[in-house]
Subunit: 150 residues, 2 copies
Amino acid sequence: MEDANLSVGYVAKRTGVKVSTLHFYEQKGLIRSWRNQGNQRRYKRDVLRRISVIKAAQKLGISLQSIHQTFLGLPNERTPDKNDWAQLSKRWQKQLDQQINSLTKLRDSLDGCIGCGCLSMQSCPIYNPDDVLEEEGPGPVILGRNESAD
Amino acid sequence: MEDANLSVGYVAKRTGVKVSTLHFYEQKGLIRSWRNQGNQRRYKRDVLRRISVIKAAQKLGISLQSIHQTFLGLPNERTPDKNDWAQLSKRWQKQLDQQINSLTKLRDSLDGCIGCGCLSMQSCPIYNPDDVLEEEGPGPVILGRNESAD
DNA sequence: ACTTTACCTCAAGTTAACCTGAGGTTTTAT
DNA sequence: ATAAAACCTCAGGTTAACTTGAGGTAAAGT
């Protein structure tokens, strides 16, 4: 009953993803399996959690790539325990916080900004909620009072 | 000075998108242009706002498709005015609100949930922050106290 | 006038995240 | 002992949102 060997079909049903997706994830290094006599995949139970974590992370807009990166922090030898997962959770919470923050700013400025006459690609909080000004270009051009901007 | 005819290059520089992207958007019906003598694209000034709105919406995770849909609400004959844009803004604010809500729930339940023993594909708030239970399948299977779930 | 620079079109390539199908083997159910 | 259901591999397809490139015209700078 420990470390049962689950079939793809079972895992697929349990997690709601397609078998092909499991193949895909395996190929991407996100999950692992061993093979039985007849070359069929078998999984440990922790694959279920892995997959649910993948799904969760995807909801946050995190790419498989970066999920993969994060998973590198998990132990390979032993089955990850609560602490291991909790750490991932922490990481993603930060990301989540930032995302919520960005979106909140965006929302708060949306009405005032999108409807106003000052929409600027370079300086508008809508376009640049937080962060990155576009690098290139001969200096910021502001849509503004100086030009009609509709 | 009204309804100036802007070139692709100018629009590209102003908005920070590539010329090819403008072609692409036009082909998708998101922006419009007319041609000059030499068959070159010319834009009205409102294209700038359109593009910034596209960018904004994309930050919200809204697809071009649905942006296109929303844009259908804009007047085609006349240049959209503040009211027109404000209405779009309203729509997206709702979506934003929901998104923020989802993410917040997700964040709040993340630590408690991902680290616990009850992670369930079907019922866990991580996996289903708000909404949709997976349709298919012979009834929800819960990872839980009944089975070791790591 | 001449040479860059900017545009144009159309076809094809790119990345992410999967899905589909063909052709063949293993398990499982009866 | 079979037939059906589940697997396997590998190649190629799909969608979104663009980007790149080839081959050629137009506009701008000097």
